[in-house]
Structure formats: structure tokens, C-alpha cells
């Protein structure tokens, strides 16, 4: 409950800061936000786009949040997405299978690619106590260059910087869904994402594995003393985290898009940290945070088209929200102070005998 309040206050403060920024560049915040929310939610097709934008963010948010629960900071979701997406794209472009099996194999490839990329930092952390922040950053850049050279060499598409387009059979886009949302690029990735939210919530809250992972996150030494295999749990946590990020790559490159661009680390990887943080590392919180970011991202495009406000406003608002979420102690302090002054005044007025109880 307290987490929800902190997140909501952070969001409000972030939106206020965004409004001030709009004022600063001489635009009207009311008009800006009107266009922003219209752009994200005006009609069924835009709502579809918003959900599609949120899909990879749900995955990366879950990835970061899951690792967080074990006390690991997976900053490498971007690299894991790239490798997961590359594996799925490779399957889509080379294997000739019927649609359900092809998509199943693509999803599996994405899971394997992503978890492989997270396995290395996990192993280094468990075995050599190498800090995962630095190792996952290194893995990001290795993934960046791997995609940079492998895609043009093997799957070169129309331009130098792009892979071939995947066929309709391999795309996560479903004609039925596209029709229902009137031409939006929403795809079955959103179903996978919702499924992932449920599965991860189940693992964290209802299984022995989840309990052990959380125990390692709370106190590594206590967990070890209680007989848990800490190193195994660290690696496992990274594997699952990487698998989720890899699925994010599948959703992004074979669902929202139909090809891979080289020379770009997907921003969703870094945004996943923000999503996880705002969602207080709970799967359901991640879902709502990702949808909010989806609204901001898909809405700013429309806003930019209507009035001259740069679309980077969305990123700025998100960044400021995260700063407020990171400094939530401040919000809590103000909150407590407010409450204390209220109880203090009650104390003064109240009967003497009541003191010391509470």
C-alpha cells in the first residue's frame, strides 16, 4: 500500500515536472497533456498501439524486478533482448515450419538467447563475486556488436542496417487482433506478457524457489546459513531474468517490428529498470507501470505532431518519476512528518492518561 502511494506521488510529481518543462519551452501544459493522452487513448487503434508499446516494457520490467528480488541489478536487459530477438529472428528467417510450431520455436529461441546472455554475469557473480552491474553492461556492448556484424552477414535486408523482414507466418501479429484494433500493431506479444506476469507472480509468491530467491535477496548470508544454495539461486535468478528480457526482444523484433535494426541498443532495456522501480518490483506493479510508460511513449508522438513539443518529453517525465521514486524516503519523510504533527496536536489536546499507550 505504502509502495503504491509512493509510486503514485512520484508519477504526479513527474507529470508536474513535465508540465513545467512544457511551460519552460513556451508551450501550454494543458494542451500538451491533452494531446498526449488523446494520442495514447483516443481510439481503439491508438489503445492497441499503446498496449503494443507497453509489451516489451512489461517483459524487461519483469526481468529487472525478478533479479532485484534476489538482490541482483540486471542492467543488461538491453543486451539480453538483442540476443533473444536475434535468435528468434534467425529462427523465423531460416526454419520452414507451420505457424504454431514456428512461433513456439521462436519463443524458445528467444528464451534461450536471453538467458544465455544473462547466464554469464550470473555465473561470474556466483563463482567470482564479479559485480553484475559492470558485467551486464559489458555483455550489452558485446551483444550490440554481435548483432551489428551477424545481421548484415547472414540476414541482410533492404538496407545495410536492417535485417530481412520476417514472413507473416512468423510474425506475432494476428490478423484477427489487428482487425479488432483497427490496424494497430498490437500482437500476441501482449498475451505472452500477461501470461508472464501471472507466472512470475506465482513463482515469486507461491513457490519454494521464489521464497529462496527472495531470501537470498534479503540476506545472502542468512539464506546460506539456512541451508539454501545461494550460488545456484543467483544463477537461476539471472537465467529467468534473462529469459524474460529475451522474450521482450521477441515481442519487440518479431511482434511490434518485423526486422532487426543494427547499431541500436533497445531503450526498453534501460527503461525496464524504471518500470521495475515504479512497479515496486511486484509483477502486477510492473504491468501497470509498463502501461503508463506505454501511454507516455505512444502519446508523445501524437503530441509532437500536433504542437511543437519534442517527443523526448516522455523520456524526461519517466526519468524524473524514477528520480522521485528513488528518493521516496523524502516523500515518506514528509508523509510521516505530516502524520506526526497531526498525532502530536492530538496528544496535547487529549487526556494525560492516554500518553505512552499507542
Amino acid at each position: 500500500m505504502r509502495n503504491t502511494i509512493v509510486s503514485l506521488i512520484s508519477i504526479i510529481l513527474g507529470l508536474i515536472a513535465g508540465g513545467l518543462l512544457m511551460l519552460f519551452i513556451g508551450a501550454s501544459p494543458v494542451e500538451g497533456y491533452t494531446y498526449l493522452f488523446q494520442g495514447a487513448l483516443k481510439n481503439i487503434s491508438r489503445i492497441g498501439d499503446t498496449l503494443a508499446t507497453a509489451t516489451p516494457l512489461i517483459f524487461t520490467g519483469l526481468a529487472v524486478a525478478f533479479a532485484f528480488r534476489t538482490g541482483l541489478f540486471n542492467i543488461g536487459a538491453a543486451g539480453q533482448m538483442l540476443i533473444g530477438g536475434l535468435a528468434a529472428t534467425a529462427v523465423a528467417l531460416t526454419m520452414d515450419l507451420s505457424r504454431p510450431i514456428l512461433i513456439l520455436v521462436m519463443v524458445l529461441a528467444g528464451i534461450i538467447g536471453g538467458s544465455l546472455w544473462a547466464f554469464i554475469p550470473g555465473l561470474l557473480k556466483a563463482r567470482f563475486n564479479v559485480h553484475e552491474v559492470v558485467s551486464t553492461i559489458m555483455m550489452n556492448w558485446i551483444a550490440y556488436w554481435v548483432v551489428y556484424y551477424i545481421v548484415p552477414a547472414n540476414f541482410k535486408g533492404g538496407t545495410e542496417t536492417e535485417s530481412k523482414l520476417i514472413s507473416e507466418t512468423a510474425s506475432l501479429k494476428m490478423p484477427l487482433l489487428t482487425e479488432m484494433f483497427q490496424g494497430s500493431y498490437i500482437n500476441m506479444g501482449i498475451f505472452f506478457a500477461v501470461l508472464a506476469v501471472i507466472v512470475i507472480a506465482f513463482i515469486i509468491n507461491k513457490t519454494t524457489l521464489g521464497y529462496e530467491l527472495k531470501a537470498v535477496g534479503f540476506n545472502r548470508h542468512a539464506a546460506e546459513y539456512a541451508g539454501m544454495r545461494v550460488n545456484r539461486n543467483i544463477i537461476l535468478s539471472m537465467l529467468i531474468s534473462g529469459a524474460l528480457a529475451g522474450l521482450g526482444g521477441v515481442a519487440l523484433y518479431t511482434g511490434n517490428a518485423s526486422s532487426m535494426q543494427i547499431g541500436i541498443l533497445p531503450s526498453q532495456g534501460y527503461d525496464g529498470i524504471a518500470v521495475a522501480l515504479l512497479g515496486a518490483n511486484s509483477p502486477i506493479g510492473v504491468f501497470f507501470a509498463a502501461v503508463l510508460f506505454g501511454i507516455l511513449y505512444s502519446g508523445t508522438g501524437f503530441m509532437n505532431a500536433m504542437i511543437e513539443i519534442p517527443p523526448e518529453l516522455a523520456n524526461t517525465i519517466i526519468a524524473i518519476i524514477i528520480y522521485f521514486a528513488a528518493t521516496s524516503v523524502l516523500i515518506q519523510r514528509v508523509f510521516n512528518k505530516f502524520r506526526n504533527t497531526k498525532t502530536n496536536s492530538n496528544d496535547v489536546a487529549g487526556p494525560v492518561g492516554k500518553k505512552g499507550e499507542s
Binding site: 553492461i137 534501460y270 529498470i273 523526448e312 528520480y323 528513488a326
Partner: protein
């Protein structure tokens, strides 16, 4: 072969310098006990500030390198201001330092592009001219080292090397340096000895802001010439150099030189026949793989400041 080395050397050094100064900034912050993963963002803030100020000032006072030095100064100030956000969150509020640093990165990455796009439309800020390379008189005539170290050098290179020297001296020989390091090792003991841990840590983070801002500005004013909204991960590379160099100024110099050379070789490999036989992918990922290996090797004897990343709790024993 010799001509290749001769050609690569000046470029590698130019590439090394922004990394070096940023990593050195990170050193001050981490040695005082505050992990600063926001180096990337602080560099971007510095790059943006210098590009914008030089862009504006070059129209008004067209001649001389004076404008460029003013640009550097403004980048330093902006870097410090930005770093205060991190200092406030991680020192006063005991926030998670990695998350706060991440927020700094995100704010800098988005806010600068937001403002730049509002100013120029494209989001890029170009400067008319940056520092020009020069040959150091007399010294460049020395055989071998003259060609390697004293030709095509930038004034900023010498300036940063001076900063490195002074920093090493400050860290190891002055009261402030020793106090700073004690705050990163055992802040409770430092406080018991009468040191103001909060103040020292603020200084550490502000120095990292100043140096990273400088690093970002040097990228723009030497080899880039244009602000495009990123520093291509150099801030993170500086962070890796800091660990690679085991939190020591000379170690950092070695680590950043390694990255400088590795990147330059990877960048020019296609035009040099001797290097073109190696697949470029190997050269590109080489520095990152070596860093991972180095982290493993150093893990047994890590020199990391013991209290880095932990919020200061005066009551803790």
C-alpha cells in the same frame, strides 16, 4: 608496422583522455563511499552544456580558443550541478545509489535531447571549430617518442594529464585525500576521528560531476564536434576502467589507455591491411571481453573501497 603505430597513437590518446578524466572523477566519488553509475549521464550533461555554450558564444566572439575554455568551464559547472542530484539522493536520503545513478543517466539522456531538439529542431548541436591539434615544439623533434607522444596533441590532453598528476597527489599526500579515502573505507571511524563524512562525500560526488562534465565536453571539443544526444557508452566504459584500474589513479591511466587503443584499433582496422585479416567483430568485442576477464582475475584481490555503495549510518558499528 611502425607507421601504423605512429598513425594510431595520437588518435588513441585523444580517445583515452575523456575516459581518463571521467574515470578519475568516478574514483573520487567511489573512494568517498558513493558509487556513481551516473557517469554516463554526467558526461552527456557536460557535452550538451559545452556544445550549447560554444555554439552560442562562437558567433559573438569568433576568434581564439578562449571560447572553448569557457565551454569547458560551463560543462564543469553543469556537471557539478547535475551531480548534486545524485549526492542529495544517495547521501542525505540514503537512496539506493545504483538506482539514483540510473535516474541521473536517464534524466541527462532525455532532458538534453529534449532541450536540444527544442533549440535546433534536429536535436544535434554543432560547433564551428574545436581545439586544433598541434605539435609540441622541441619535444616533437625527439626521435620515436616525439612522433608518438608530442605530435598532433590537444591542449586539453596536457591539461587532463596535469589534473591526473594533481589528483594523485591530492589523494595520496594531502589531508583532504586521506580523509576522502577513509570515508570510503570506514565512515564510522572517520566520523569518530572528527571528519564530516557528509561533507567529504558531497565533495567526492561533486568532483566526479566536474570531471565527467569535463570528459563529455572534451569529446565534443576535440574529436566529435557535434552533440548528438549520447556519448556512446563511454561513461559506462569509464566505470569499467575504474574497476579495471582497481580504484588507483595510475591503474585508471593504464585501463583507459587500454580501452583507448583497443577502440582505435577496432575503428581503423578496415583501412589497415595488416589488421583487416582479423574479423572486425573480434576487435570490437575484444575490450569488453578482456574487461570481463580482468574482473574475474581481480575478484580475489579487489581493492574496492569497503564502504562504497553503502549509505552512511552514523549509528552503525
Amino acid at each position: 608496422m611502425w607507421t601504423i603505430i605512429e598513425q594510431i597513437f595520437p588518435y588513441a590518446i585523444v580517445f583515452t583522455i575523456p575516459l581518463l578524466i571521467t574515470a578519475l572523477g568516478g574514483l573520487f566519488s567511489e573512494r568517498s563511499g558513493v558509487v556513481n553509475i551516473g557517469l554516463e549521464g554526467l558526461m552527456i550533461a557536460g557535452a550538451f552544456a559545452s556544445a550549447l555554450s560554444v555554439n552560442i558564444l562562437q558567433d559573438k566572439m569568433p576568434n581564439g580558443s578562449m571560447v572553448l575554455w569557457i565551454g569547458l568551464l560551463i560543462a564543469v559547472v553543469v556537471g557539478i550541478l547535475f551531480s548534486l542530484l545524485h549526492a542529495f539522493a544517495s547521501i542525505n536520503l540514503s537512496a539506493n545509489q545504483v538506482i539514483s545513478g540510473t535516474a541521473i543517466n536517464m534524466i541527462a539522456m532525455s532532458l538534453t535531447v529534449f532541450l536540444a531538439r527544442n533549440l535546433t529542431g534536429s536535436g544535434n548541436i554543432r560547433i564551428t571549430s574545436g581545439f586544433t591539434p598541434f605539435d609540441v615544439p622541441v619535444l616533437s623533434q625527439i626521435p620515436i617518442i616525439g612522433d608518438l607522444l608530442f605530435t598532433k596533441t590537444y591542449a586539453t590532453t596536457w591539461f587532463i594529464l596535469l589534473v591526473l598528476l594533481v589528483s594523485t597527489f591530492i589523494l595520496n599526500k594531502t589531508k583532504f585525500g586521506l580523509r576522502l579515502k577513509s570515508c570510503g573505507e570506514y565512515p564510522q571511524a572517520a566520523q569518530a576521528a572528527g571528519i564530516n563524512v557528509i561533507k567529504i562525500r558531497y565533495m567526492g560526488v561533486m568532483i566526479s560531476g566536474a570531471f565527467s562534465g569535463l570528459g563529455g565536453a572534451i569529446i565534443i571539443l576535440t574529436y566529435a564536434g557535434e552533440f548528438t544526444g549520447s556519448v556512446s557508452g563511454l561513461g559506462f566504459l569509464a566505470l569499467a576502467s575504474l574497476i579495471f584500474g582497481q580504484w588507483k589513479p595510475l591503474g585508471i591511466l593504464g585501463a583507459t589507455l587500454f580501452f583507448g587503443f583497443a577502440s582505435t584499433i577496432a575503428n581503423v582496422s578496415q583501412v589497415i591491411p595488416e589488421l583487416a585479416v582479423i574479423p572486425p567483430i573480434i576487435l570490437k568485442i575484444f575490450p569488453y571481453v578482456v574487461t570481463l576477464l580482468a574482473l574475474v582475475v581481480f575478484s580475489k584481490s579487489s581493492q574496492a573501497p569497503k564502504a562504497a555503495g553503502e549509505p552512511f549510518d552514523p549509528g552503525k558499528r
